[in-house]
Amino acid sequence: MPASPATVTRAAADIGGTFTDVAVLTPDGRLATRKLPSTPENYSDAVIKGVRSLLEELGSPPGALEELLHGCTVATNAILEGKGAPTALLTTRGFRDVLELRRVRVPNLYEPLYERPPPLVPRQLRFEIGERTGPRGEVLLPLDETGVRAAAERIRAAGIGAVAVCYLHSFANPDHERRTGEILREMLPGAFISLSVDVLPQKLEYERTSTTVINAYVGPPVEHYVRSMVSQVEGAGIGGRLMVMQSSGGILDADAVVANPARIVECGPAAGVIGAQHFAARAGFDNLITLDMGGTTAKASLIEAGRVLFADEYEVGGGMSSRSALMGGGGYALKLPVIDISEVGAGGGSIAWLDKAGSLKVGPESAGAVPGPACYDTGNDEPTVTDANVVLGYLNPEALAGGTVPVRAGRAHEAVASRLAEPLGRGVVETAFGIHTVANANMMKAVKAVTTYRGRDPRDFTLVAFGGSGGVHAVDLARVLQVRRVVLPVAAGVFSALGLLFSNLEMNETVPFLHLADEAPLDEAERRYAALADRIAAVVGGPREEIRFTRHADARFAGQAYELTVPFGGGGEPGANGPGSKAGRGAGMRDAVAAGGPADGRLDAQAVAELCARFEAEHLARYGHAFSGEFPVEIVNLRLVGTRRPAGIIEPAPFDPASRTGPDARRGVCFGPASGLVDTPVIGRGRLGPEPRTGPFVIEEYEGTCVIPPDCTAHLDRLGNVIIELPAAG
């Protein structure tokens, strides 16, 4: 394609473990992407190379870039590899082991050989300080400043550059932590100091300590990374402010990220969800299940009424984040806003095997990208999900990824036959379909963890699939979930980079506010929201009137231990404009929104009544019952989100069908255990039109493959999304 001169002002670069994806939208809305191998020795190399080559191709001067949007793995890698900054922790006397003892629960039953990951701060660097505050903020023992100074001396002597401080009940009275912070900053200039009252002013000492420690532990490496990325990108003549994605799906500028490093731990998967959210919204869908199926795992998330949902409990480094709270205890608690993403070990590289009773299992062991599936013929003989998909005719028998990865279908057949089909006494194709089915059963668990576990019915949602293997499994997974529509977006292989291009500046802050809703001092609530708004405005930056604030409260029935987050104030009716089904009860309501300040209207009795109604509706949706009238509603935290839409966001242009006419071939494809291999056309996305085309057919392109079975129809929308309609169940 000839490059037309155009001035590109925003570029996105998302770094993953294997690849760095770069994407830009030209002023006329054309999407251009690059996929490069990541350069772990210096991540900015691939970023600079990718951005440069894209801009050169488009004829755009690199200096014209105003923003470089970035997703990175620096924080998560620091934790997973144990390479964060050596960190010290100051705690209330008697409680230095809270960090190490965690919540006691373990992620798996029946595992005597289970070993916990080591605490991020070893015991000798956890200093106990004489001080005590009670649950109502009352000081029971004054701060032992001499003790703080003695600890600071030892921290300095040990050459430690990161310090976390978390005292009991500090959210109720921050004085001791603040004073400790002053002393530490005075005695340890240059050290990265994290106070729990700044990072997470909420009850529950383990979660608050752990989150504060993570912030300190990743602080220095994130700062180093961000500063060096900024200077190298500038040095390479690429203009533009560096903006980094947070785990919540919003972006922040470099300075804000350096000050809040724990907020970017899960930014990679978050960017993919944001990409799905924006692409599907433009296609007219706002209730979505997103499915990102890669080489090793599949990740599912939920978008309801156009909004991402946050995880109630999150741990980093605990293995796969599936099934949330029930599987918790294996990692490090991080209680900052993280998009609720559930993960299972079912990717293209996941290995299929027989257990001791001869039943077929898929994963969690994976052949990964190296050596990869058996059909890569690079040393792995175990059958994988990708091998099954080759046997079934879903994937090209000669080469994948637009011809860039050669495969030998014979090796896939051999692996499935010798390891599984023969011991099972079944046909190779039948067994391959079994692998496909079991992989879908695993993915179903990931989807259920973000839908039925929240009281949401998957049938009320559209499944949007991306990642290398998403399009191969989406329709059959949708059948299991009884989902009736599947969307396979264009450029699904670089979805995280796309998400960056569409993301908003965002900051989410909370403040404790423990009151029965009916007795809550509303003037005080207004003051707290106003203080949060000031903090958020300072972090988000830009003109204050451009910031859109949404007020929420974390509420529960008095006596419960878990809260639900619901909008507070600003009108809106419970249950209004939901997606028209029980999935929408409660959460499909209007946000309490105001531009510039926390809200237009003041909080009043009406606002409290609405809060209670919304809370009860959400409780009913999630848990199937509400204690309405039996237990009063209690507010636990006030929560304010400030978002600002960056000026330079460009809408993607309509899809050009001529750009992807792709292959025009046929091959045998299996659509069920009884069907055998059916002669099926293989086409490019561009050959599909706006009129529904009945299956079977296969769409093959560089980013992946979509399989449309005989009983489904598919058409292309104006943005190039493949929209597949499934028949009614039965």
Binding site: G94, F95, R96, D97, E100, L101, R102, R103, V104, R105, V106, L109, Y110, P112, L113, E115, R123, Q124, G134, P135, R136, L168, L204, R323, S324, A325, L326, M327, L354, D355, K356, A357, G358, S359, L360, K361, P423, L424, F433, G434, T437, N442, M444, K445, A449, T452, Y453, G455, V480, F557, G559, Q560, A561, Y562, H619, R622, Y623, G624, H625, F627
Partner: protein, 600 residues
């Protein structure tokens, strides 16, 4: 390798198994999130299960292993008693160990029959059960929390519920609700938790009906049966890898009150081919005290122990239990008869698991841990504050012994109950109690090539004018034992006002201790047993323990024969290797390595 019969679609089986699992887990999540008492919502002492029409478990939520396999007897009783009288919209409730084959009175079951709606013209058909059991904060009786160790008959333990309809055809049995609310010390929490159980059952029912609609009732039920067969085959395949033989072990509970009489558990495990038989002959007789586990609970604890020693991902369903035979003399501690009290029987469940680990250590040395801290310590602190009763109770855990692969873990639950600790900030804001200390104690882990986990400490200060204290603990006379040359961990202690009156309470209190404002109760948990000869522990590992303040230099010399070099300043420590070699040689010669300091 056995294999799936040719007539069954193995892939469909895997799919439906996943469906059953997610439904049971979904129920668990609902229960946890909506519960009101600390012991349910924070400690997570509950279980959820999906059962077939005959009461066989299809799936159990990821909850409490000691509840696994414990639904069966109770459900069988329910189904036979109410045959022909089970209607849509019914909800059953029960707790009695004898009348209902329950576990102990605080564990209240709520179960809902699931009726199919497949054919609108035909009668609805009973096709499944959604069941929950939750440990309630109080069900009355002589001691707040209803786990009186000193109870001599079940009538002293609280409200006994036979199998009755809590809701009959959609109509709540209001009289029963009122009776329950009036007989418990914490009606808000109990009624809130019962509602949470109801919500969980409704969630299970709803999802099961969707499954029937999607795959057809008969297909789902058929695959439920296939799932049982599959679980049994997988269990048999696992057992066939155990070396055949007879393995015996004797373990102890130290007895009740100020003058405890030793309680003996004697396990004889016979592994023969694909079957395991566990016999408890030789175990003490049932005792006049609340630690007798009813036989369903004994069986469930045996299942949990064996499941922990298997490596396959065996479904949590009834089929798993088929190859495991458990026998115990009637009237023995582990198979008591009416009216033996059972309130605090959890401790015996833990000890059953410990005892089976001890027995099977010889058969499976690479799969067990050396002995653990013995399950939760259960302190109950109760009283009145501003005219309202409060009952604080928590399951305080835990520490494991060393294993063939690594040191014992601390801050972990017992294998029998995957429970959480309760947040200190939560306790202090809801109860007139202050926690003064929570942490690990140095030198308490049993010495070994792989050290036992450290014992933990928790100190409670009373802030109300008066309160009563009841404690269930163990492992003082018989601290957690080591394996293969590893030493025992330190013993456990219960102190009132340490440093002041220094009163030591028995491990299992039969009478409550009266406390007043400012009094302090301190529990020091035992440390885990060591694994392997401590003189073979890498000196560098001992040094790391010293640096992390988990072992003191003096203890390192006495227990591990490791001598430090350096000028005494922590930052300068290193191992004096020649001195260490000399000391270890001497110690080997005199075989004089000793038990941990705290046990001296």
């Amino acid at each position: 390798m056995s294999s799936v019969p040719r007539t069954i679609d193995p892939f469909q089986l895997e799919l439906l198994k996943s469906c059953f699992d997610t439904i049971a887990d979904d129920m668990a999540l609902t229960l946890m999130r909506t519960a009101h008492s600390g012991i349910v919502r924070d400690s997570l002492d509950f279980s959820t299960a999906l059962l077939d029409a005959g009461g066989l478990t299809l799936a159990q939520g990821i909850c409490t292993p000691m509840h696994m396999g414990s639904f069966h007897d109770a459900m069988r009783k329910l189904i036979s008693r109410y045959e022909g009288r089970i209607d849509p919209g019914d909800v059953f409730i029960f707790n009695d160990p004898y009348a209902a084959d329950g576990q102990h009175l605080p564990d209240i079951y709520i179960t809902t029959p699931v009726f199919t709606e497949e054919n609108r013209s035909a009668e609805p058909r009973l096709a499944a059960w959604a069941t929950t059991v939750a440990h309630h904060s109080d069900v009355g009786g002589i001691v707040a929390g209803s786990n009186a160790l000193g109870a001599e008959e079940i009538f002293q333990e609280g409200l006994r519920l036979p199998i009755v309809k809590f809701i009959a055809a959609g109509e709540p049995n209001r009289a029963l609700w009122d009776v329950i609310a009036l007989n418990v010390r914490t009606p808000d929490k109990v009624m809130g938790d019962l509602q949470a159980q109801l919500a969980a059952c409704r969630s299970g029912e709803r999802e099961m009906l969707e499954l029937f609609a999607r795959y057809g009732v008969d297909t789902v039920l058929d695959y439920g049966t296939h799932l049982q067969d599959y679980a049994e085959r997988l269990t048999r395949a696992e057992i066939s890898e155990f070396p055949d033989g007879v393995y015996e072990f004797t373990d102890h509970i130290e007895g009740l009150g100020e003058e405890p009489e030793l309680v003996v558990l004697k396990a004889r495990v016979t592994v023969a081919g694909e079957d395991v038989a566990i016999d408890w002959t030789g175990t003490s007789d049932q005792i006049k005290g609340g630690i007798n586990p009813t036989f369903p609970f004994t069986k469930a604890s045996c299942y949990a122990a064996l499941r922990s020693l298997m490596v396959s991902d065996i479904p949590n369903c009834h089929g798993f239990t088929v190859p495991i035979e458990v026998t115990a003399p009637k009237g023995s501690l582990v198979n008591p008869v009416f009216p033996s009290p059972c309130g605090a029987r959890g401790i015996t469940g833990y000890r059953i698991i410990d005892c089976l680990f001890g027995a099977l250590a010889k058969a499976l040395p690479d799969r067990v841990t050396a002995d653990t801290a013995g399950g939760s310590t259960l302190p109950t602190i109760a009283g009145y504050e501003n005219g309202k009763a409060f009952v604080f109770c928590e399951t305080f855990m835990g520490t494991w012994g060393g294993t063939s692969e690594h040191d014992g873990q601390q801050g972990v639950p017992h294998m029998g109950a995957n429970q959480s600790n309760v947040s200190i900030e939560m306790i202090e804001s809801e109860y007139p109690i202050r926690i003064n200390e929570y942490g690990m104690l140095a030198d308490t882990g049993g010495a070994g090539r792989h050290r036992g986990g450290l014992g933990l400490v928790r100190e409670y200060e009373i802030l109300s004018a008066e309160a009563v204290l009841n404690v269930r603990s163990d492992k003082r006379r018989f601290p957690p034992h080591g394996l293969f040359g590893g030493r025992s961990g330190s013993p456990s202690w219960n102190y009132v006002n340490p440093g002041r009156s220094d009163r030591v309470l028995p491990v299992l209190m039969t009478e409550v201790e009266k406390l007043k404002r400012g009094d302090v109760f301190r529990h020091e948990m035992s440390g885990g047993g060591g694994y392997g000869d401590p003189l073979e522990r890498e000196p560098e590992d001992v040094l790391r323990d010293i640096i992390e303040e988990k072992v003191t230099p003096a203890h390192a010399e006495r227990a591990y024969g490791v001598v430090l070099a350096g000028d005494g300043e922590p930052g300068t420590w290193s191992v004096d290797l020649p001195a260490t070699r000399r000391l270890r040689a001497e110690m080997r010669e005199t075989a004089a390595s000793i038990t941990p300091a705290a046990a001296d």
